[in-house]
């Protein structure tokens, strides 16, 4: 079932070329545009859930323009021939992009035709208990408690949380009454080497003078769980003024005098509303057509976006430093402890622990700090038709912080930029159940574990494409110490101008290197293969081997060292190799790469002759096989 409109133009924001002319299809889940003018069939798929806004622009001579802005920062500018068609598309899109009931979300209809048990296994892929075990929990100081099993402590926390052993049930319940929405201090990350911990909670209901003994005990228990340090930090990630204003509403922040040995700090990260409007300004800059240097730089500055990113990063660095260098535990909160707190805690973990810089690690981190601890994905991402003031790019900012770190430490992450973009896409796509709802309890109620699929196994399948070829391995980098000077923060073209192809490097070095990696792997296989065959070769056919090795010699000769600075071209391979058939497959080494990249590869002989040489060698190896089998 779909709706179809002919004669639709898709304008390209950055190039002046003749707009494509084609057909628009509306399905239940996607808007699909098929370019009829191109020689190759070119399709543009836009998920309805990705659509942030649809705007009808004034009528022009060529038709009725429709501007579609997406949550993954694609901007599609369609021109539809007839006004009536346009209006119909417009109204249907409005309806389709803003589902009212959770059951209408894509995840509930998405069916990858997967056996039931593998779907269930998928949901068990990430087990937080394993991560706590990795940190050495339970231990003498920390325990996993099911105090929240019926959500009686806090309805936005998961049933099981990690609290200090010294905190008994009364302390936990008492503290819950003194914390906004019952979000008590729980462990986020334990730095095993010195027992310093990062904990998170919401703001205390302190007002101007209120105290709570249990809460004070709770903090004391956290401090004492780290015997190496005489004090602990309590970090309020809000600007001081915001926190002060909250006191009038009976909330606020900890009074240093009431708690034993705490050092209280404010870190001024702005609230979700400031962030939302900042992103709005940033996107306006991104949409300016061929901005001058001055437009771009002032626009970037006035948006304040990178300043906010820096604030988050600064806070993460502060936490990591406190834990690593001052050996002090830190308790972090903001207002409710699910936005800024999630950003800051996950970032600090990422800085401290190389595990979180792996595929699995980042998934665990997102699961632990965001999904389970009740970041309101549904509201922040606007999954359902609702209050626009609740929408804010909090997770986007976290993603960007990770990216900024990847820019500064290109060899410290197992994954590449595409992995981040893919996760970011799916946070908004609602194709998988992980990010539906706003807390664990809600997800249970939605039965997402029974009715939907998990994103993580899907991502792991595509691991090859998300790999960072520059990754130096788990052990090389321990803590990261990023630079947080303003010039260290770059504008993330790959995110905010991702769909403007003209803005990106022509031949992505990433593609090169990924290609090299898989070539290398194959070479290794070949080498072992040959090694295994060697014993057979030596004995039966000495003459043939001899003559063969001469041929091989000749072809390898051309590809001899030095590897990278010799004139080489894989097209100069002996033509006989091309008939081999196997070679064709060989070139196509990246099954999951999207079409574009494949094209790039195919007609790019500049893929350092690394490949070429290797292909030559490889095909030599191939040639050898049939002779002796």
């Amino acid at each position: 079932m779909y709706y179809q409109v002919e004669n639709v133009k898709l304008l390209d924001r950055y190039t002046n070329r003749k707009p494509a002319n084609g057909t628009l299809y509306l399905t239940a889940t996607h808007l699909i545009y098929v370019d009829a003018s191109a020689e190759v069939r070119k399709e543009t798929w836009i998920l309805h859930h990705h659509i942030a806004s649809v705007e009808k622009l004034p009528l022009t001579t060529s038709g009725c323009p429709l501007l579609i802005r997406c949550k993954n920062f694609r901007v599609a500018h369609l021109v539809i021939g007839h006004e009536r068609d346009c209006h119909e598309v417009y109204t249907s899109l409005l309806k389709l992009s803003q589902p009212v009931k959770p059951e209408e979300l894509y995840a509930f209809s998405y069916n990858p035709k997967m056996p039931k048990d593998s779907r269930e296994i998928g949901w068990k892929l990430i087990d937080l208990k394993v991560d706590y075990q990795r940190m050495g929990i339970p231990n003498d100081f920390w325990e996993i408690t099911d105090a929240n099993k019926d959500y009686e402590v806090c309805n936005t926390y998961p049933p099981e949380v990690v609290v200090p052993k010294a905190a008994n049930k009364a302390t936990v319940l008492g503290s819950a009454k003194f914390r906004s929405r019952g979000r008590i201090p729980v462990l986020s990350y334990l730095y095993k080497e010195n027992n310093a911990a990062i904990c998170r909670c919401s703001q205390p209901l302190s007002g101007f003078s209120a105290r709570c003994l249990e809460d004070e005990q709770m903090l004391q228990a956290i401090r004492q769980a780290n015997p190496g340090s005489p004090f602990m930090y309590v970090v309020d990630t809000r600007p001081k003024l915001n926190a002060m204003a909250n006191r009038a509403a009976g909330k606020g922040y900890e009074n240093e005098d009431n708690y034993d040995n705490i050092h209280f700090k404010f870190i001024g990260i702005e609230n979700i509303h400031v962030m939302r409007s900042s992103l709005q300004k940033l996107l306006e800059v991104c949409e300016t057509k061929s901005p001058s240097m001055s437009d771009f730089l002032t626009g970037l500055e006035n948006s304040g976006w990178l300043r906010h990113i820096k604030a988050v990063m600064d806070a993460g660095v502060f936490l990591a430093k406190a834990v690593k260098e001052e050996k002090a535990s830190v308790l972090v909160h903001c207002s409710d402890g699910w936005d800024r707190t999630a950003q800051v805690c996950s970032l600090a973990s990422l800085l401290l622990d190389p595990f979180y810089r792996t595929f699995k690690g980042l998934m665990v981190l997102i699961e632990k700090e965001w999904i389970v601890m009740g970041h309101k994905f549904s509201h922040r991402c606007g999954h359902l038709d609702g209050d626009l003031k609740e929408v804010s790019p909090v997770f986007t900012q976290f993603t960007e912080c990770v990216w900024q770190l990847m820019q500064q430490f290109p060899c410290a992450f197992e994954f590449n930029e595409r992995f981040l973009l893919e996760i970011h896409d799916h946070v908004y796509s609602c194709q998988f159940g992980n990010f539906l709802g706003s807390c664990y309890r809600e997800r249970e109620a939605l039965k997402i574990f029974e009715k939907t699929h998990s994103l993580w196994p899907f991502l792991l399948q595509k691991k090859q494409e998300f790999r960072n070829p520059l990754y130096k391995g788990f052990t090389v980098y321990k803590e990261l110490k990023p630079n947080t000077l303003p010039f260290s923060f770059q504008f993330w073209c790959g995110m905010y101008n991702r769909f403007d192809k003209g803005m990106h490097p022509k031949q992505c070095v990433l593609d090169h290197l990924l290609n090299c990696m898989s070539q290398k792997m194959k070479l290794e296989d070949n080498a072992t293969d040959l090694e295994n065959k060697l014993p057979f070769l030596d004995n039966p056919l000495p003459n043939e081997v001899c003559s063969l090795s001469k041929i091989v010699n000749a072809s390898v000769e051309s590809s001899k060292t030095p590897m990278l600075n010799t004139p080489q071209d894989y097209e100069s391979e002996p033509p006989a190799l091309l008939t081999n058939g196997a070679i064709v497959e060989e070139v196509d080494i990246m099954p999951d790469q999207d079409q574009k990249n494949k094209e790039n590869f195919a007609n790019h002989h500049d893929l350092l002759d690394l490949n070429s040489t290797m292909e030559v060698i490889e095909s030599d190896a191939k040639k050898e096989k049939p002779q002796h089998q």
Partner: protein, 793 residues
Amino acid sequence: MGGVNYVSRRRAALQPEESDEESWEELVPLPPSCPLAGTAAWSWGGREAPGAMLGKGAGGSGAKPAKPSFVSYVSPEEIHKKEPIEKEVNLHLLPGELLLCEANTVLKCVQEDGSNRGACGKLICTNFKIAFLGDESASDDNEPEFKNKIIGENDITLHCIDHIYGVYDEKKKSLSGQLKKYPEKLIIYCKDLRVFHFCLRYTKEEEVKRIVSGIVHHSQTPKLLKRLFLFSYATAAPTNTDIQNQTVMFDAIKDWREELERTKGNMKYKVLNANEAYKVSEKLPLYFVVPMSLSEESILQYQGRGIPIWCWSCHNGASLLKMSAFPKEQEDNTSQMHKIFLDGIYKTINKPPYEVLKTDDLSSSLPSLQDIQAAYIRFKQLFLIDNSTDFWDTDVKWFSLLESTNWLEIVRRCLKKAIEVAEYLEGQNTNVLLVEENASDLCCVISSLVQVMMDSHYRTKFGFQSLIQKEWVMGGHCFLDRCNHLRQNDKEEAPVFLLFLDCVWQLVQQYPPAFEFTETYLTVLSDSLYIPIFSTFFFNSQHQKDTNMSGEGHRAQSSHFRFLTVWDWSVQFESKAQVLLNNPLYVEKPKLDKSQRKTTRFKHQRQLSLPLTQTKSSPKRGFFREETDHFIKNILGKRISKLINSSDELHNNFTEFYDSWHCKPADFHGLLLPHIDGPGIKVWAQRYLRWIPEAQLLGGGTVATATKILDMIEEVQSLQKKMDEKHSLTVPQGREALPMLRNSARLSSLFPFALLQRHSLKPVLPTSTWKDLEDEDDLAKRDDEFVDLSEVI
């Protein structure tokens, strides 16, 4: 006073040959009115140890007035032999370098924290550099791996000094001319953006006077050309005759002929030797290339002005030309004559086979030299930082500060102009004539940028160096004036060459695999502008170099007199350091024979045919190789010249060209167009931030990428070796390993420039909090803090 009086020694040494000039005085800065004038000044008297010894040594050689040079040369060994006691002072003098003054117990402050932490040592000033000889410099254990052999970590060549400030009672004052009062602290800003703080509080007053006035004098006062250290060095240095250099110097007619042949420009253009002995013009090189149809007399008529001079030819036959314009004349008559002359010239070269000609007056379409200089002054201020507090202050407004300098916009405009020119040449088969007053400033920038973008030969190291020889050195760029090496006229100063390097850097960072050299190469090249042992950047023209060389040459009565060229990188770097100048990802242009090319070309052409140019050949393959088909077609098929003045059309052509190129996959050996949208242009971090410890990133940055790539290369090589062994081949020789990049997980991102033993003490608190704490009491004034209770909660 004891020792040899420096002034008189100098006088004795100088007088025989310099008596015709009064210039020797300028070496001796102190007029009688100065309190320092007299016997004490500039003498080694009273100073113990090395100074005195050196004095004796120098005096010894100075006693031979017959020596042809005007300075004497003391070998460093000589000093050492005579002074074994002062072993910690590791004074290394170059040939021809002479110690002028020194001061002991100077404290070199480490910038951060505003504290006076730092090393104690000796500050010296020679006729080549200012150097700080710290105690720790004696120990060679932790020698930096990427070491410049000429300029040490604590050396500043006199030409590299940008500004000198003195600190008086916490106040900073620019130092120049005669000083009445001597500062307690000396701050030296360098042109390579280092900042040195020397505390003189513990130095003897007399020494302070001597060193401060010495430094100020030798670095700030106008100099005569002959006073350049270049000449002292060239006279004194042993000449190594066998300089093997592949860089084409363009000082011989054959170089030009070969270039014409390479670019297939030789059918329409000819090399002239009319300027031998500089008969035509002193601005022009000995040999230059003009359109064949141009008559010799027209060239002679106005000293080469108004003559289109060939720069380069595109594979399709379209050529890039430049012309020095006539100066704006008041007199109608003259300007009328100029106009007639120009019309004649245009007529000649607009005729077939030269087809259409597009003229572009760069002085009106690009920023002026004054604008460039002003922008650069503002720009570099962002990176010349006195202390880290200043630096943290830029925090909040970094991008608007960057924007207000306008430097990046100028870079962008140059790149844009170069794309425009490339579009005419490549897209429209149109000759382009760049016009500028002397055709030696922005002309150089644009023409060399166009060539780098269009001709992959110029993206190799030797090609790039040849290009700089061709367009800049021979092209008569006034390096001496633009760098203000002689300090004669501040108004002439403009960082034109640096602007070019910055533009090239933008290309390098956008297309790393397309260049044989790295950004480190560009950075090091930009530093070489201020090292006066290479002649490359120390003359205004070839004529100036020749006249000064021959003059000195015959007086020196030997052929020993020879300048070094900067392209001999072994002078500055050991071979293991030179490895860092080469890009490991670069792949040379494949050389194929014809039969194989046909098939491959077919494959590529499908994707690459631009809609706007039918005649355009595939840029994928060798630019000038076997393109004759197209070439001849272009010459024979006379295209109807069309007017291309309408700016609207220009804009459309430009964007269409730009866009359609960017829609295609790039060929690193073909045309290369930079991104010129805002996010595409970046700050050349390596050059501008390298000395700022706060900018350091341990284990990160592009260096990390480079090391990883080198690792991968090595791995592949070892695998290949393994394969080869399996095929019972002889073991191929591996690429030279890079020992300095090994074990480098914790390498600083500022490598290879990061200074050792620097620990940045970043505030433990994030800056924003830091600020909060500072401004705690004016919380109420924070107007950006819009607090709506409902929102905050």
